[in-house]
Symmetry: C2
Subunit: 168 residues, 2 copies
């Protein structure tokens, strides 16, 4: 497989969802990194990935969608100055720097939108590659929640809250 060293990142449209779902569903079924399980329907996933609160971006390489992220306020109202990002890289495209490109782009988007910080609420402790990437990009583990994720093969494993300041 040729390495897509630099996919093009662009704002997603709802018509991209079928391609996003084809990447997202196997990740959910694998049950190692995302809170959702097999009971999540495509319609529910679409409502999560595309809604009025969410900015959604896709990574495209040679006309094919290889990844996506969404950015939204981590909380409503008085907590909406902290962004929350979620990332998908198709399993067949992982390990090629696309995740890093998505996270970096989301940080730029968050800063441009005026967010003051970014927070991840449920980073699975066994998802070591993601944690290393987030740390390289300035995030710190600010909490470890015992056994908060029911990993498909490992059972209950810890999760982290990770945080990065975006201002001055």
């Amino acid at each position: 497989m040729t390495t897509p060293t630099a996919p093009l990142l662009r704002t997603a449209t709802p018509t991209d969802f079928a391609a996003i779902w084809s990447l997202f569903e196997p990740i959910i079924v694998a049950g190692e990194t995302y809170e959702f399980d097999e009971s999540l329907t495509a319609a529910q996933a679409q409502a999560i990935w595309f809604n009025p609160q969410t900015q959604t971006v896709v990574a495209e390489w040679q006309g094919q969608i290889v990844g996506s992220y969404k950015l939204k306020p981590n909380f409503a109202g008085r907590g909406n100055h902290v962004a929350n990002g979620s990332y998908i890289v198709g399993m067949q495209w992982q390990g090629q720097g696309i995740g890093r490109q998505l996270v970096e782009h989301s940080l730029q988007t968050a800063i441009a939108q005026g967010y003051r910080a970014m927070q991840f609420n449920i980073v699975v402790s066994t998802n070591v590659g993601a944690i290393k990437l987030y740390e390289k990009l300035g995030f710190a583990i600010v909490a470890t929640i015992p056994q908060a994720f029911n990993h498909r093969t490992l059972g209950y494993v810890d999760t982290h809250v990770m945080y990065r300041n975006l201002i001055g």
Copy 2:
């Protein structure tokens, strides 16, 4: 005002929402403890307080609703064994032990439902009374998020993630 030493706690029905909203809205407008701000409509609040994922309880004293809590999974699917609780005590009824009664009841409900832990995601650091109560009831501060809450009078203040194990 007579002290409602022991309101009756019972499962809420959607027809209780008007009374709950009459307690909830002033708390939101005060802007000191809850993520929501004045832009939250009654309809949005109702969808948050009553939905298929949520168990809702009210505290009733002399035929009047004086408080409420809701319990729901803190995350979907592989994170749904951790409960999340939210509590309302009408401002005119605060300081009389109703909050403690609500939290204790929610812990019993969570245990009965088979939840393994309970987590609060955005406890405002200046809400000292609530934090002390949660600590008395076995919760610990597991993270402090800098300036994650935009307090109406104090500006950006820290928030805590608080956690309590419910098993073993």
